[in-house]
Assembly symmetry: C2
Homo-oligomer: 408 residues x 2
């Protein structure tokens, strides 16, 4: 049905966005980190970590699956049989390293796929149930359920089972040059999509109509490069509910006199660049304008501090000190590390820009500096996605950093 | 900024898609089921179950949150402070029953939000750590991590901690008349969107362009009722990869001579109607046509069996026996229960239509009969979403049940 030449292109370019040597390098860094913590096997369940380490990419994370990384040698994939069958379209691993559990284990009260996975992993040797063996699992990953954990624990009678403490996420935090290129494309998409969103926020238009345009543009992408799906749907709390983050849309019309905060992402090959802006339909209330001014000034202070050698604590303080001069306080973090994302989150769950974070910022890290001010009955959001370079932050989606006002 | 009248409309119509008496009835049925199993407290983490029991609806499930249902009395919500603040926009619960944990507990290696939640739940009385107390948790729900489970378990020294066995999911399985109306709207949206998808599959068009049209239409909705976001993004494996389920899209062009399977959903107020069809660009290979014919005949046999009093085992057998006459075998289930959905899955995780399922089918249940044939290098998908009535299935998205062929 398909001619060979084009298939080669699909396999080499599209389904494997990185050359195999990049995956080998990532694996080496994960195994080094495992060695430092004396971990014999690492059970990886976060789809972003699976993608990072193998290229595996499908919407199969709603049933249990994992990659098990041994202290040395090749990692192996364990997933539902129907997904294992085609996993080599995206993962670089050879098919003998990909194992499928039988269909009848799905959604059963009496047996669980992780019973099978633990057994199989012991059999193929990526897990060892011996005294002195130390198995780390991603106990706070989104798709590693308590039942999966309990099944794994029950099978390990001698090995110690510990928390991975987001080991792979921490390896992901510094982006390689090839990853930085993906982020730049994602940034172009984010900027294009946000401009379309801002253009479409008009009085009388339904929230869902604006979302339709956003989602259309997200898939279209930029520069002939197609967009990928975002880990979070577009969020546009409006009017009184703009004081509440994380609300999705309704089919009510936007109204003159109200402000809408828009948060969305551009995505390319699973790399995310999120972006937030606020648009006022009609003349904004004085308090909103005042808040927007303070936040823009605070953003500049935060970006000045976001450079190699600084800490999240310092970035947060730069912002907090600036807005404090205007009488504002923000309790939540002012940003977080970004890169690969899968639903439900585009954050990496590593560095947060907040008082408690003392990690040194390094070149190659990427952050979403997000300044959400959720007030009683109104809100304001402004964000800046950046790559950290030797001399400071590179803006990935350089739109004007102000409240957008539509007066007509 | 907004006049009172319109705000009332927002609060009563949009943000609360059901009257309060519907939530009270759902709670009563959950508490009856808890009583039968002698459960003193039920920890509900699945966002679909939170929505079902309270109306709470926001993209906040990427940080820990739960509803705790006591044996008698009101349930209480526990979530991140920034989300708790506005939870009453969608949940019917009064604000004193909604508790927000401090921001500094998010993404920390040393402390966890569930430490706080367990403590607070004991304090307000929806949990009791006493001998004889039996706490059930949703240990296989997608957003209840192993770490959340361990934090809860560590705080309970005397109470017994057991698996909920999808208690709320099983209560959800029979849809009320108001829920059935939501499903019918979702079905209209699914049908509209699939027609647009089929129209847009053309040689030379990129996969991401087709997805752009699908996502646009999903948000637009039908009959002036806006569409909601789907639990799963559109999937359209094409050409050789059509033999692999769950692959998402790329930016490669569709090609003449290839077949594409499309799986998507129409969504209204979180109720999902999924739908799958296959389209061939150009004359289909004989084997694909033969498979499609057998599957359509098998679908009719399955739908004839899908009526009150039957079991999943019988529905599956009706399909399997029919396609066996053509020499085909399908190893995976032929369908599952549907209703409310949140990422990453639109299935209810209760009844599967397969040999192992002996649950009696009842009026008011809804199913996605999905017949995916994943062959080596090609595939075929056809589905039928239905509501079970007294006399048999009501088709929710009645499109022709055949392979779509575009010859030009």
């Amino acid at each position: 049905m398909a001619d060979g030449g084009v298939l080669v292109e699909w396999e080499n370019i599209e389904s494997r966005p990185f050359p195999v040597r990049e995956y080998r390098d990532r694996l080496a860094r994960v195994q080094e980190s495992m060695a430092r913590r004396e971990i014999s096997s690492l059970v990886v369940a976060d789809p972003a970590n699976l993608y990072y380490l193998t290229g595996y990419n499908a919407w199969s994370f709603y049933t249990p699956q994992c990659l098990i990384v041994p202290a040395t040698g090749e990692p192996q994939l364990f997933m539902r049989a129907m997904d294992a069958q085609g996993a080599h379209y995206t993962a670089y691993l050879s098919t003998d390293l990909i194992h499928g559990y039988p269909e009848e284990l799905v959604h059963r009260p009496d047996v669980h796929p992780f019973d099978w996975i633990a057994e199989k992993a012991l059999e193929v040797g990526v897990l060892e149930d011996a005294r002195g063996s130390r198995v780390a699992a991603e106990t706070d990953a989104h798709f590693f359920s308590a039942r999966s954990y309990l099944a794994l624990r029950d099978r390990l009678q001698h090995a110690e089972l510990v928390d991975s403490l987001e080991l792979v996420n921490w390896v992901r935090i510094v982006k390689s040059p090839l990853e930085q290129d993906k982020m730049r494309v994602a940034g172009e998409i984010a900027q294009t999509v946000m401009q379309i969103a801002l253009d479409n926020v008009e009085p009388g238009r339904r929230q869902c109509d604006v979302v339709a345009h956003i989602q259309y543009a997200q898939a279209l992408g930029a520069r002939k490069l197609g967009g990928d799906y975002p880990a979070i749907v577009p969020m546009l709390p409006t009017g009184e509910t703009a004081g509440t983050p994380h609300l999705t849309w309704s089919d009510l019309p936007l109204r003159k006199g109200e402000a809408t905060t828009i948060e969305l992402a551009g995505v390319y090959h699973r790399y995310h660049v999120p972006l937030a802006r606020t648009v006022s339909l009609g003349k904004p209330p004085k308090e909103l304008r005042r808040c927007a001014g303070a936040v823009t000034e605070g953003l500049h202070a935060a970006l000045d501090m976001l450079r190699p050698g600084s800490t999240g604590r310092q970035v947060q303080a730069a912002f907090a000190d600036t807005i404090a001069r205007y009488g504002y306080v923000k309790e939540s973090r002012v940003g977080y590390s970004i890169g690969i994302g899968y639903p439900p989150d585009w954050g990496e769950r590593t560095i947060s820009l907040r008082a408690e974070d003392l990690t040194l910022i390094q070149p190659g890290m990427a952050f979403h500096v997000i300044l959400g001010m959720w007030m009683d009955g109104w809100g304001y959001e402004l964000s800046e996605p950046v790559l950290v370079g030797e001399d400071g932050p590179e803006r990935l989606a350089p739109l004007p950093q102000e409240l957008v006002v539509k007066k007509k």
